[in-house]
């Protein structure tokens, strides 16, 4: 299985400068956060579906859909019950479900999933190295942005090692399903020690490998890939500014909230 959500294809979004995509992602969050009413968020969600699928976010969607459904359901149920409202739809003391709460719950569910989907579109159309380069252009120190990109690489590797360790201990009769919190915590000890020891060893080796290849040098770093700011970036950013500024304006005018 590939370690990344990146999708190898040539879409409009793939061709954009990473900085445009980072700013675009942030602006999409602004637009999503502007509204709480589902009828206002829904058009935004529909708007991103086609470019998102063209950029290959469908693969990521395929991998995280259970999480999206869980988030959607949890938001809808929690806000649906606890959001204060006036128009009672159903009442069972001490709880009462209101129309406002249901709308707000639905709005939150769509909003969170919209933001998650925008994140997926970003990852599907942006290599992690391009993301790092984009952050560097925006003035974030390379060591910081590189550390962020490494975490994407290390998580699946650590998870693979953890699976091996779980198998090794199961061969020795380890059961982690024992009852009682304390017992269960102790049951995890044979897993935690080797997992941490192996993670420490690996990060140590990684640090050695990085510095052996010149990482940390005072020389100004160059990039292998060339990132050009083109006309399509201007169009994309203008569109994103219009959408986000429009959303904020509509909200300031008193619309879009439950």
């Amino acid at each position: 299985m590939s370690l990344y959500l990146y999708s190898e294809r040539i879409s409009f979004l793939h061709k954009l400068h990473p900085v445009s995509k980072i700013i675009g992602l942030l602006l999409s969050f602004v637009a999503a956060l502007a509204f709480s009413h589902p009828l206002y968020i829904l058009p935004l969600a529909i708007l991103v579906i086609i470019p998102g699928l063209r950029a290959g976010a469908g693969d990521g969607l395929h991998r995280v859909w259970p999480l999206m459904i869980a988030i959607g359901l949890a938001s809808f149920l929690l806000w649906g019950v606890f959001f204060p409202g006036k128009t009672v739809v159903y009442s069972l003391a001490p709880f009462c479900i209101t129309r406002e709460a249901l709308l707000y719950g639905a709005g939150m569910a769509i909003r969170l999933n919209l933001m998650l989907f925008c994140g997926l579109i970003f990852l599907a159309s942006t290599r992690i190295e391009d993301f790092t380069a984009g952050l560097s252009v925006m003035g974030i120190p390379f060591s910081l942005s590189f550390a962020l990109s490494l975490s994407f690489r290390l998580v699946p590797i650590f998870s693979e090692t953890t699976q091996t360790i779980i198998q090794a201990q199961r061969c020795r009769g380890l059961e982690t399903e024992s009852k009682g919190l304390i017992k269960r915590m102790f049951a995890y000890l044979p897993l935690l020690v080797p997992v941490f020891a192996s993670a420490l060893r690996r990060t140590d080796q990684l640090a050695v490998a990085l510095e052996s290849k010149g990482f940390g040098s005072k020389i100004k770093r160059t990039t292998y890939r060339e990132y050009l700011f083109r006309g399509q970036d201007v169009i994309f950013l203008l569109a994103m500014i219009v959408i986000s500024a429009g959303s904020v304006t509509i909200r300031i005018l008193g619309m879009g909230a439950v």
Partner: protein, 542 residues
Amino acid sequence: MRKITYLQEPGEAVAIVGRSGAGKSSLVRCLNRIIPKFFPGDFQGQIGLFGKDIRGLRPFELADRVGVVLQDFESQLFSSQAELDVAFGPENLGLGREEIQRRVSEALARVGMLDYRERDPGTLSGGQKQRLAIATVLALHPRILALDEATTDLDPVGREEITSIVRQLGQGAISLVLVEHEPEELRMVDRVVILKQGMVEREGPVEEILGDVEGLETAGVRPPDAAKLFSEMGFAERPIRVEQAVELLQRAGERFSETGIQRLRVLDQEASNGVGDTILHVEGLGHSYPGGTEALKGVDLQVREREFLAVVGQNGSGKTTLVKHLNGLLRPTRGEVFFQGRSIKESSVSELGKEIGFVFQNPDHQIFSSSVKEEIAFGPRNHGFSEKDIKDRVERALELVGLTGLEKSDPFIMTRGERQRVAVASILAMGPRVIILDEPTTGLDYTEQVAVMEMLAELNRKGHTIIIITHTLWLVARYAHRVVLMAEGRIIAHGGSREVLARRETLARASLKPPEIIEIGEAFGFPTLSVQEFIGLARESA
């Protein structure tokens, strides 16, 4: 390390050998100041590269002079595309884009990976990853290239590929420093340096050092079969290659005794008949991983009680996937596994663990206790044995693996060979009849490898069925009764060790080569599994 004086000429290829802990890796790590930068300690002396003192420099300041490739290639690759990994070093050097692009293409071409430039390194095979790791260093245009056991995890053909790439590099302007164990790889260098307890024990031209059988064995290095054979036969010559040995032996008029050959054939048959009934039985086994990779494509296998079976094949041939089905760690996508005639479908890994033990390749993936005793007691305790019983089991297991007296030792500070023994003991303590070991000798020096295999042979003699996964064929020749050869998820050959290991073409399909002693024997009409067998046949004839 203690007072090491080491000199290397520009363009020279030098191998550094020695037992585990002799200071080989430490010496390599001093070349670009990983020591003392990452491993501080009492550091004395001076290192000069091309006439310049490197004291006070940091590893990144030496990146364009010294390239170091480590054994664990996974930790050296961290990009989402092969070419980006190669570009990482030149980018850090602040080179212009065109220059980086030129170097990336050049480095990938030198290791034969140009066609893979856009691949995600995570999806490459072990050999390809290691070649890529070398390319990432070559792109820095180092004048010294150091490989610290960089081929240990590869199958023989993968090792040979890397060796030939490195040999070509060595013929150019690059100076090579290799930390190696295997004589096949050592033969390519100009000079060998033997380290012992942190000091240079001996150094000399490769022919001279590889011919010094006793010296190599003392240094924890396996001598070439040819040299070992001549040493044991009492000849003055010390050939280090098969062809040399065969020519000299033919010139000396050596030949095999026909009756001796017949006797060995009978012994092979007896060994095959001497084992018990079928204990594990695999029928039409298929396995596909969630990503869709079909790792096993219909495998049938029978393992008999008290047999010593070796499962061999190249990296990614399905060996580990196969044996993980034998104790239920993996469940078949199709087909079935039977233990003592009963399907294991309904049994848990924990239940099967009492009968079928599994020792993982890396002992550090299971060790967690602060004492050897507690580590070994973990399995029996999980299975609910009484404290008295656990104590007896721990003692017996320690005795079997030769660690009696080390009950209170901290496994974390033991050598890799000792930790491997602790791992085996922790499985033995549960009293399994079958013990499966995945690559039990990886990362061990020759002396440790032989010690671990002798221990397994002893367990086998005491009635345990042993199944090992390996691609170290000289170990198979010496210890296994039967061999299962795998390639691309299928068994492509199985049978007695002598029969399978002599099938050069079939082995080649699995990226393997017959052990050298078999090749020497075959030149005289019979594939000999060990130096002793060869000598026996030759002496009988005389």
